[in-house]
Amino acid sequence: MISDKVNYTTEGTMISKVKANLKNFIQITEEMTIAFYQRKDKQGYELYEKFLDALVDVVDELAYLNDNKMLQVDVSKINGRLAKALQALEINDTITFADVIQFEILSDIKMYYNKL
């Protein structure tokens, strides 16, 4: 049916957009964590601003995909780990912040990217 083809095309375009956003998020996040590991905190915080912007879009999109049963995503887990990361940042522990992002959030995001 034509309407099915239109829906499929719209969904395909949306998935591509989400993938592109995820890829962008992964790149920014990796740059940010490397900056913190290298003790380039000024650069790290500048990338943190971009990280937050990209994160909002990514979490919204993943939540949408989960709600529409297009991908199984544990959004509350992501939110929980993000809270843990931000707690570390609040006490200026940029290394633990980078660790939580790298090992507990980014690894899941990469998994979702590969599944799409």
């Binding site: 590991y37 290298q38 003790r39 380039k40 290394i95 633990t96 980078a98 660790d99 939580v100 090992f103």
Partner: protein, 617 residues
């Protein structure tokens, strides 16, 4: 936690003996504060270290994965991404080894790391709880630890003096160390600056004097071969009599009369610039030391300078050498002329001495002195005077060192950059000397670990009996001039000429190879087989020339060229083809400089040969 102490110490004993011997001999473990450092497990099972203080607890590593953190941290110092090759990495902090291990992985084979760990508790905790055998076994790393071998740091940095001067150094600090150990960081930076200053001064001296040194060595050849070498006098004093080193600082005035009374109770060696003052005061030293190729003849136009025996560098001013009528004992024989006189001994080391007074200190030690008395060694201004009799020389106020230094009388004194370097040298050498050094300057800068006495007190305490002094002086006199010196001189000059001819041919071949390399490189982005073969042959030629005895003369003659070309030799371009072209062009200039040097020096040798042949006829 596993105990890695024995395993680490075993490797340390094999590969880092400088650390091993200090830890073993000084019972380091007895005085540790074990509560100040602790370790626990990270999420991935590796250990994390904590440093505890009265009001802080600092975690050194990632809670999740210390190796991952260290690897990403070290990435910024990767060799191939750096702007320079052959870097020296100077690192403040050893920590528990993670960062250092990853740093060792990112540097290239021809780079080195010098580490200073300011906390002995940290280091000892690490060798007990962490397996760092891979780090200890690595030949590209040197570790100095506060409380174990911190005094080795300066000597190690001096080895890399020229690299420091050319900007090939990357300075870095382990995370958190700068905040935790600020005082020790200041200390380390002080050492680094001293080394930089010293290397800079040596470089400038070499730039100005290189060709003159080579020329003077050849000009002095005839006199050298008619006299003796210092290697023939090693240990001759046998600790029996003290040596008085007479330098020409402003405080020398105070001691002239007492110095006269000291004659016959000590071996009195005067630096060349002090001689004219001694002559005016009627003081006769036993020997004079001269080494400066640019020393003005006016210092030596007096009876004392003409008639007193000399210790002379082979590179001394030839006019000074010719004017002196007495016995000469030569040092600094890098060309190994002494082999032609069957003096089969290793060359005496002047150990980085940058002035004639420092060289005299080394000579005194080499001769076997166990007590060395310094006079006139101010290393500071006395009022406005820089030298004896109130003279002010080298009126360049920009050479004044910006910080005041401690004097022997507790006051703060002005000094110069070069004197400050000499003072640092003295502090290191006197500490390492296992005899007694008396600073009888009666004023001037405080030299660490010296006994401060007046000259009269020093003579009363350490002066020898006249008989003993006479016996030692007789022993020195009995090592006489060579017989058949004319034949030796002739043969030596013939040998020199043959070596110069041989090296000239190698230089011509090297220049032809470089022309080929430049042409090939312009046509090839990647290194072609012909380029590889030509580069290999060039390396062989470098090696052959470096093994010739005249190589040292060539090096000195071409200092101004090599230092100039060396300055940015190690700059790395992203484009490999450009990199290679850069190196080939620099090599061409150096070889052209060498060719010019060989031609000039060969003419001199031929002239000396003609004179020698005339003399023998």
């Amino acid at each position: 936690m596993a105990d890695y102490f024995d395993k680490n110490m075993k490797v340390m004993g094999e590969s880092a003996l400088y650390l091993y011997s200090n830890i073993s001999e000084h019972n380091i473990e007895e005085n540790l504060d074990e509560m100040s450092i602790s370790s626990c497990e990270a999420k991935n099972g590796e250990l994390i270290a904590f440093i505890h203080g009265n009001d802080y607890d600092v975690r050194l590593n990632s809670l999740y994965n210390p190796t991952n953190e260290a690897r990403l941290w070290a990435k910024q110092y990767e060799g191939n991404a750096s702007d320079y090759t052959q870097r020296i990495i100077v690192c403040f902090g050893f920590g528990n080894g993670y960062f250092i291990r990853e740093l060792l992985k990112v540097i290239t084979e021809d780079e080195n790391i010098v580490v200073y760990e300011p906390n002995v508790n940290m280091f000892m905790h690490t060798i007990r709880n962490y397996d760092i055998t891979d780090i200890l076994a690595n030949k590209n790393i040197f570790v100095a630890v506060e409380g174990i071998n911190q005094e080795d740091l300066e000597g190690t940095l001096r080895i890399f003096g020229y690299s420091i001067m050319y900007g090939q150094v990357t300075m870095l600090s382990l995370p958190d160390y700068e905040e935790l150990y600020q005082e020790k960081l200041v200390w380390m930076m002080g050492i680094y600056q001293k080394v930089y200053l010293s290397a800079y001064m040596s470089g400038n001296t070499a730039l100005v004097n290189g060709a003159k040194w080579a020329d003077a060595t050849l000009e002095n050849f005839t006199c050298i071969m008619k006299n003796t070498f210092i290697e023939q006098y090693e240990g001759i004093l046998d600790g029996k009599i003290p040596v008085i080193i007479v330098a020409s600082g402003p405080s020398l005035n105070k001691n002239m009369q007492i110095l006269k009374e000291a004659k016959g109770k000590a071996f009195i060696i005067a630096v060349d610039s002090a001689v004219k003052y001694l002559d005016k005061a009627g003081v006769e030293p036993d020997y004079i030391v001269t080494l400066d190729v640019g020393k003005l003849l006016s210092h030596f136009q007096n009876r004392t300078a003409i008639s007193t025996p000399m210790f002379a560098s082979v590179e001394s001013n030839p006019l000074v050498i010719k004017q002196n009528r007495a016995k000469k004992i030569f040092f600094d024989d890098d060309v190994n002329f002494r082999r032609w006189k069957n003096v089969d001994k290793e060359k005496m080391s002047i150990n980085g001495a940058g002035s004639v007074a420092l060289a005299t200190f080394e000579i005194a030690k080499y001769l076997g002195a166990r007590t060395i008395i310094l006079i006139g060694q101010d290393l500071a201004f006395e009022g406005n005077a820089s030298h004896a009799m109130g003279e002010r020389r080298q009126e360049d106020y920009s050479t004044v060192y910006p910080e005041l230094i401690e004097g022997n009388n507790g006051q703060l004194l002005k000094t110069r950059y070069d004197w400050f370097t000499y003072l640092c040298w003295y502090n290191e050498q006197v500490r390492a000397f296992d005899g007694t050094v008396v600073n009888a300057t009666e004023g001037g800068a405080k030299i660490d670990n010296t006994e401060i006495l007046t000259l009269r007190e020093a003579i009363e305490r350490y002066g020898a009996h006249q008989n003993d002094v006479e016996k030692v002086m007789e022993k020195i006199e009995n090592i006489t001039l060579q017989e058949n010196s004319e034949d030796i001189i002739l043969q030596g000059l013939i040998n020199l000429k043959e070596e110069f001819l041989e090296v000239s041919q190698y230089i011509d071949e090297a220049l032809r190879l470089i022309t080929i390399l430049l042409k090939e490189n312009s046509r090839n982005v990647r290194e072609s087989n012909m380029m590889i073969r030509s580069s290999k042959r060039l390396s062989e030629i470098n090696q052959i020339i470096s093994e010739k005895s005249i190589n040292i003369l060539l090096e000195r003659y071409t200092y101004s060229t090599t230092i100039k070309e060396y300055k940015d030799l190690f700059v790395r371009f992203k484009d490999q083809q450009k990199n290679r072209e850069h190196v080939y062009l620099k090599s061409k200039k150096v070889y052209q400089g060498m060719k010019e040097g060989v031609e000039t020096m060969m003419k001199k040798v031929e002239k000396l040969l003609d004179n020698a042949k005339e003399g023998s006829n």
